[in-house]
């Protein structure tokens, strides 16, 4: 067994980057080199564009990329979840077809899990996939899909068997979004943005090769995707910082980040912008206001939450503590910002301070308690899986899914 040491890896990647990195490459051109060398995703199997490197050594590689300012493989968006899912559950055919274009960033992916009738109850999906003739035919409606209007491929959770119990009748497909049977419609939000979409599936077609894992194993595959989503939620922020250097690859990366991050422009505001509180307190002269005790506590709680989130990896229910904490912080921050704004909280847009950024906080914060698992779900996870309190019976998993009561209208 060859022992891979940190020093060996560092020396190797440093040498390779020094010899190969060139900011004037086209972005795709450079990423193909990364894929070929295995340095783009070193922890992936060497058969599939990696170097079988232990996950613990990946930060070493990342440090070397950062040191020389080299761009990595495409990481922003749903594509990383797609890659992780395909690597774990996909066929070789699927890995051949999809993985490389995920790494180069040429393909855009979206997630098709939530439905109007199944939000918290993700496994309650009623989008129907039926095998007719020689292909799957899909009908239904998905919601909260970011990037669907730009996407090529979707990770689709659908029901294939209504006689089985809820979790057992689900299957997972890769859906071609660009086909006629798929219609994407933006959903306007209370804060004015339209970052999410509804996706209508009307006799959408899926070839048999695009089924991921077995029929009826969809829930297990979905769990993989969701686990990586939770884990990567932090990552969305760090990978999304564009460099200010010059060179063709940097230009193209800036554009890629700009378009991928467009739907998430308001995300810092939905978190409450605790970072702005002290600055605003000074600016408004309210620095001696006793309400700012809450601001300081919010700031320290935010740091504890981040630490809790970090402790939550590798994915455990402890991550729910971090998520619940962020929700409470966001709400507290919104209250503090309201009090700092005074009458300016009556206004929005460029009539309000910081060109409407603070007003945006006030109407974006509600999303933190809902998206990615509501506070109620987090409390259930914490109480049941961390504190091991007895689960409530819901009565929807002990009978064929077709017999489970549900709203008939979406």
């Amino acid at each position: 067994m060859i022992e891979i040491s940190e020093d060996t890896v560092r020396a190797e990647v440093r040498a390779w980057l020094a010899a190969n990195w060139n900011p004037d490459y086209g972005l795709v051109q450079w990423r193909l080199k990364l894929a070929e060398s295995g340095w783009g995703v070193p922890h992936w199997p060497s058969r599939w564009y990696g170097r079988d490197l232990p996950v613990g050594l990946v930060p070493v590689v990342e440090e070397e990329f950062k040191r020389i300012g080299a761009i990595g493989v495409a990481k922003v968006g749903i594509r990383t979840l797609a890659a992780a899912t395909i690597l774990e559950h996909g066929t070789d055919w699927q890995k051949e077809k999809f993985l490389l274009r995920i790494l180069t960033g040429e393909d855009i992916w979206c997630q098709l899990f939530s439905e109007p009738g199944s939000g918290s109850d993700v496994a309650g999906a009623v989008t129907r996939a039926e095998f007719r003739g020689n292909q799957w035919v899909v009908n239904g409606q998905k919601v909260w899909t970011t990037s669907a209007h730009k996407a090529h491929w979707g990770l689709l959770l659908a029901r294939t068997d209504w006689d089985k119990r809820k979790h057992q009748g689900l299957s997972y497909f890769i859906l071609d979004i660009k086909q006629p049977g798929v219609t994407v419609q933006p959903l306007r939000q209370m804060n004015g943005y339209a970052s999410f979409n509804q996706v209508f599936l009307t006799d959408a077609k899926v070839e048999p090769e695009f089924l991921v894992s077995e029929v009826g194993n969809g829930w297990a595959v979905t769990t993989t995707t969701l686990m990586h989503e939770r884990r990567g939620a932090d990552g969305l922020r760090s990978w999304a910082i564009p460099s200010d250097k010059s060179g063709r690859a940097y230009d193209e990366e800036r554009e890629e980040i700009r378009t991928t991050m467009e739907p998430y422009k308001w995300y810092p505001q939905r978190a409450g912008r605790v970072d702005l509180i002290m600055e605003r307190a000074r600016a408004t002269g309210k620095i001696n206001d006793p309400r700012l005790i809450m601001a300081k506590a919010a700031e320290w709680t935010a740091r504890r939450a981040r630490a809790a989130q970090e402790q939550g990896r590798p994915q455990g229910p402890e991550g729910s503590l971090g998520k619940l904490a962020s929700s409470l912080i966001a709400r507290a921050a919104a209250r503090v910002h309201t009090s700092l704004l005074g009458p300016d909280a009556l206004l929005t847009g460029d009539d309000s301070p910081m060109n409407g950024l603070l007003a945006e906080i006030l109407v974006s914060v509600p999303a933190t308690s809902i998206a990615g698992g509501t506070d109620e779900i987090q409390r259930n996870i914490i109480s049941e899986r961390v504190l091991r309190m007895p689960r409530e019976r819901t009565g929807d998993t002990d009978k064929p899914f077709k017999d489970v009561p549900r709203n008939t209208v979406a």
Binding site: S114, P116, G117, S118, G119, S120, D121, G124, V143, W144, L187, R188, Q189, M190, G192, R291, R331, T338, S339, L341, G342, P343, D344, A345, L346, L347, T348, G349, D350, D351, S352, G356, A359, L362, V363, P366, A367, S369, I370, A371, T374, D375, E376, R379, E392, T394, G395, D396, V404, P405, R406, N407
Partner: protein, 371 residues
């Protein structure tokens, strides 16, 4: 009438509720909120004429109906419930209140009939860029260079200031704090609509450049009548707010009863039941405070001022908290534009702050109690 309403008042309320449900469905709210004015004069005139809403607290000799805060606050609560897009608060609470409190007999006779009939849209301009809700922040000046009074300075956050026909203005004259009335179209007056967080309630910034003004009450005598007007406005706003809060609460309950997840209505989960029970308690407490404060004004209680502050503080917290719960209860769709929750959420946010937030009023209430 502190702890219950009379049969007549209840009947008035239910008629008004039905009337507003018919004339101000959410579709109409969304239509009007997109306009610059925020309302349509002829639409508002028709609504007002049917029930004499702007006349309600104006004494009969001036063309009014001669009722008290008890009745006016019923009107406000129902308007808050329906999220009516109309210049009622600016006209019938702020401008009318200032005139009733500060005006001489002659001035009241001149100004109130137009407000009572609904012909005149009114506004009250007092807050300035320093953001103070009380009279101390007044820097706008009233001078008499050629024997006629002119006003110079700026006012902001003026409710319906950009469309009002008659604007009551708080100024500093040589004699001290004074009130004046100004024509909405006066020369030297520049009016700019501000972008409102809550599109159902419009605010304006007013710039006065030698604007001709008519005195309202004796020069230097505005302090007490203005303070009283603020107290009354706080009570009226608190009542409007509890109407909106109750509407949100009811809609959120209806949703929870209908919405199914995990094979059953989300209303059957204990956490949801507890939340709904807490919401009911919070809204009912805020209602009690709002109703009692209105009755205190009508009865001339010694603690009317403290009760007004309590009511506004309570309503600020209750309406905002109810709105936050309402969005949460709806889940993801509660965050969408097409769902109605955000309309009331934004009214809750705006009202939380208008006339001073909860902390501001709690402080004033405690100062009164400690005195």
């Amino acid at each position: 009438m502190k702890f219950s309403f009379s049969a007549e008042q209840e009947e008035f309320r239910s008629n008004l509720r039905r009337f507003l449900a018919d004339r101000s469905p959410t579709k109409e709210v969304r239509r009007l909120m997109e306009t610059d004015e925020g309302y349509e004069r002829n639409v508002w005139r028709a609504i007002n004429a049917e029930l004499g809403l702007t006349a309600i607290r104006i004494p009969e000799p001036y063309g009014g109906q001669g009722f008290g805060f008890g009745e006016q606050c019923i009107v406000l609560e129902e308007m808050g419930r329906a999220l009516l897009c109309a210049p009622y608060f600016a006209t019938a609470v702020l401008a009318t209140g200032a005139i009733l409190n500060a005006g001489t007999e002659t001035e009241k006779q001149a100004l109130l009939p137009g407000l009572a009939s609904g012909e005149t849209i009114g506004a009250l301009a007092w807050v300035e860029d320093n953001g103070r809700w009380d009279a101390e922040g007044t820097t706008l000046t009233a001078t008499r260079p050629d024997g006629e009074t002119v006003l110079n300075g700026d006012k902001t956050y003026v409710v319906d200031g950009h469309t009002a026909d008659l604007i009551v203005v708080l100024a500093r004259a040589a004699q001290g704090l004074s009130l004046f009335t100004v024509d909405g179209n006066a020369t030297g007056l520049t009016r700019r609509s501000l972008k409102s967080m809550d599109p159902t309630r419009k605010f304006a910034r007013l710039e006065f450049d030698d604007v001709a003004a008519i005195p309202l009450g004796p020069a230097g005598g505005a302090t007490a009548p203005f303070a009283r007007t603020m107290i009354e406005a706080s009570v009226c706003l608190a009542n409007e707010m509890v109407g909106g809060a109750d509407r949100l609460r009811e809609d959120a309950l209806a949703y929870a009863m209908m919405r199914m997840q995990f094979g059953k209505p989300i209303a059957s989960f204990q956490s949801m039941k507890h939340k709904q029970a807490d919401m009911l308690l919070e809204v009912e407490l805020a209602k009690s405070a709002a109703y009692y404060a209105a009755a205190s004004l009508d009865d001339g209680d010694d603690d009317a001022v403290a009760n007004a502050h309590l009511a506004k503080a309570c309503a600020s917290d209750a309406y905002m908290q109810t709105a936050i719960h309402a969005v949460q209860i709806h889940g993801g769709i509660g965050f969408t534009w097409d769902n109605d929750t955000h309309l009331w959420f934004k009214r809750a946010k705006s009202s939380e702050v208008l006339l001073g937030d909860a902390s501001y009023h709690r402080e004033l209430m405690l100062q009164k109690w400690a005195a």
